[in-house]
Amino acid sequence: MELTPDLRDCFTVPGKLALPYTYFAGRIGSRFLLALQEEHRILGVRCAGCATVLVPPRATCDRCQADLADTWVEVGPAGRVENFTVVRYADRHVPEPVPLVLALIRLDGADTPLVHRLGGMDPEAVRVGLRVTAVFAAEPRDTLLCIDHFRPLAPQPSAAGPRPQGG
């Protein structure tokens, strides 16, 4: 039998890449998430080296390599939309429903904006400079979704949220 690379021999097989992980939030991350879950407080860390309040918090400042343990400061829960995009494609990793407004929100007292989703308003009405505030999830979650979404501080024309709270 001679080898003749032949399209008739070729086919495709459906499969999956699936791996179970256990991610660790770390000491800093756990403290941040528990403050969100249990106290509805948003914490950042303050680097003495560059006088920057970083959110989400982390163990080390990537500019100064300074140790940021025990440099907690409370920020938010209100803030300003610095930048945003409207995600209009559905995919299994994109929270429903779309369009989904993802915004860089600089919380009051923080220097680095946080990426989160905006709700409670018409996606087409979002503007840079909008004042927003955190809406906390009713049930405890182990991720940033302890804050379910951010909503405008002032009443907006349309009030469809990205996902009903606790949903």
């Binding site: 495709t12 991350g29 995009t85 995600v87 995919d91 993802l102 860089l104 990426v115 989703r117 182990d142």
Partner: protein
Amino acid sequence: MARRVGICAVAQTTWERDKWSQRFQGMALEVLEDLLARTGLTFSEDGGIGMSISVSDDIFDARTISDNAMTDVLGAHMGCEEKVAQEGLQALYYGLAAIRSGHVDVVLVLGHCKESQPASRNQVTHMAFDPFYTRPVGLDFTAAAGLQAQAYAARAGVGDRHLAQVVVRARQLATRNLKITGLPVVTAAEVLASPLLADPLRELHAYPVSDGAVGLILAAEERAREITDRPVWIAGVGNCMDSFFLGDRDLASNFPLRQAAARAYRRAGIDHPQNAFDVVELSDQYAYQQPMWMEGLGLVPAGGGGAWIDAGGPEAARVNLSGGMLAGNPLILGGLVRAAEAALQLRGEAGDHQVPGARRALAHGVMGPAGQFHTVAVLERD
């Protein structure tokens, strides 16, 4: 005096939306056989190819350490093998380091990717984000690019009309590139009407899903001159990694690209990059990145992207005559294909898109959300 390192040969498969009949091993083998035929080289630590550097993405390949599954088709069996999982142009950097150090004289660089294999590219790039903070809100590279495009467009006067122009030109140039198949030309009206993905990005602004493989042979100067009469010298390479969290960066500032370019220019001895290059191949994964990266490279004044397009800048600066990434190369291979295309130009082998007499070229690669990591390479011929 450190040894000069030359690119001696270039090979690539066609770039297609769906190479359903090929495993990634088959695509790589096609490129390897092409390179060996062009150079007459064999694998040996005594005068032949002494090291194989593969470029592959484990999540796209759905295998841990996916180079393990293909050492045979890299000629790396029982040989010296290295893998680049970051961005393809980094493989040029690895090869440069290996040869300049004197460890080896001849290196094979070979990258592959099948973007058609996973259910969606966005699901794959979503994995690059943090499981606690940035995955839960649904970030992926497309959404991150949307945020960057939003920030950049306003600052540089780049509007929907400019982006349409960039895409129309890329698709037209792609018809002259024999390695691009099955990519239709589009009109500006079609681009302007294509659905929004993540404002202001539209579907036609995004590089097409593509499958294929690319390879190069690198050699120390003396060996390079034996292998080819038209070696292309790697004059300087620089890279820069920016912060992980999008909020830590000024997304419109081009900070990491300016750093990477400055490093590459300094190493190549270039003081005035503005008119230093006959050809520029940059990784424009999304249309807004073509003017933005040109600003970051210092080849267009900061904030001048829109005006540059209006003035016919892309044609005048001979940017992405191959079609660029908008004509379809996989994410991880963007910079490596750019280096290959730039080398073809300097060797006079670029076919219908050849720039007559091109002597110096720039190749650029980018990886990570919203251009977190950039590599810039300066290539020259004698």
